[in-house]
């Protein structure tokens, strides 16, 4: 029980924040998604989403690429291998804690 409690301190705070958890969950469930899709699904404001994405990108959890689909510019976000592993670790720890 004690070791499980200590797991609480080792939770990834970057992912633990609800808005970022939403974003990572959405990206985990798709190959890639653009800014508008994340905006609509998460219900966050543009500024809020943008700042969370920047933090996740800085941590190396997501990749942000500006590209064109036809003539239209898209800001496409994708979970990196690190991000995927971090999310998996996070869910494992949360599961362990829930068994306390």
């Amino acid at each position: 029980m004690k070791s499980s409690l200590q797991e609480l301190a080792s939770l990834d705070r970057l992912i633990h924040e609800p808005s970022r958890l939403m974003i990572i969950s959405l990206l985990f469930a798709a190959k890639e998604a653009d800014f508008l899709y994340l905006l609509r699904e998460s219900g966050l404001t543009q500024g809020n989403l943008s700042s969370h994405l920047s933090r996740l990108e800085a941590a190396g959890y997501i990749e942000i690429e500006k590209k064109f689909k036809g003539k239209y510019p898209l800001t496409v976000c994708k979970l990196t291998q690190n991000g995927r592993k971090a999310f998996e670790n996070y869910t494992r720890k949360m599961r362990a804690i829930s068994k306390l």
Binding site: A29, K31, A33, L39, K69, Y72
Partner: protein, 239 residues
């Protein structure tokens, strides 16, 4: 009540699972009706390749049909994203759905999506997914073999063509779940229903061709209705 702020979608739906989010991504891909419309055009074109030929099971006719399948499939890979870029992405955003089947094979995905899974259950789930894939391939093979049987007097050359078709259909189903998604009923259903028509003493190719055209037009009109509704619903979202 006046100060009540509606919570974001994800929070409102009480923690949707990753599987649920994956389904949402898949639905987002199909909700504009464009894949259905393009599929409908494809079937119509396929049907048109069969109608002009009178001779039952004319080799050239079938070759044209399968070349058409390949061309339509390849075009679908470029035409659908092009149309989506024109109409969908700026309204409801772009999302590339994951291949759910292959993701389920990855143990990490399933252990996260289904937290109560133990190792034995996980292996059983993997086997179930594999069995489902095998069943899908067998269904495809069975229908193609049924077509060969229905032909009765087909030459060896035609058998080879059917065998090629069977392999192509199986490869398509095993490697392209998105292709499978909008063709399993229509694409496999067409030849199966066409068998009934082929049994009557009429030009068999024409029967199959006309049926493909009808189903293609049905698929197209269904996709068009979905597309019009989608455009009406999302017109306010266009920047």
């Amino acid at each position: 009540m006046a100060n009540y702020i509606e919570p974001p979608k994800l929070m409102r739906s009480a923690f949707p699972s990753i599987i649920e989010l994956t389904r949402r991504a898949v639905n987002a891909w199909h909700r504009d009706g464009i894949p259905t419309m393009v599929g409908g055009i494809g079937y119509t074109l396929m049907g048109l390749t069969l109608v002009p030929f009178r001779t039952p099971y004319h080799a050239f006719s079938y070759a044209m049909l399968w070349i058409c399948v390949i061309v339509v499939h390849s075009l679908g890979e470029t035409v659908i994203p092009g149309l989506k870029a024109r109409f969908t992405y700026r309204r409801t955003g772009y999302v590339a759905p994951v291949n759910l089947d292959s993701s389920l094979i990855e143990s990490d995905f399933i252990s996260i999506t289904e937290p109560d899974f133990n190792e034995a259950e996980l292996r059983e789930e993997q086997r179930r997914v594999l069995r489902a894939r095998q069943a899908r391939a067998l269904v495809a093979l069975g229908i193609v073999l049924a077509l060969v049987t229905a032909a009765g007097d087909v030459s060896e050359q035609h058998h080879n063509l059917f065998a090629f078709s069977a392999v192509m259909v199986m490869v398509a189903f095993l490697t392209k779940p998105s292709f499978y998604r909008f063709t399993v009923l229509e694409f496999l259903g067409c030849p199966a229903l066409a068998l009934l028509i082929a049994r009557f003493p009429i030009a068999r190719n024409r029967g199959i061709g006309l049926l493909l055209i009808l189903l293609g037009l049905f698929s197209f009109s269904r996709g068009l209705i979905v597309f019009i509704r989608y455009m009406q619903k999302t017109s306010a979202a266009v920047p």
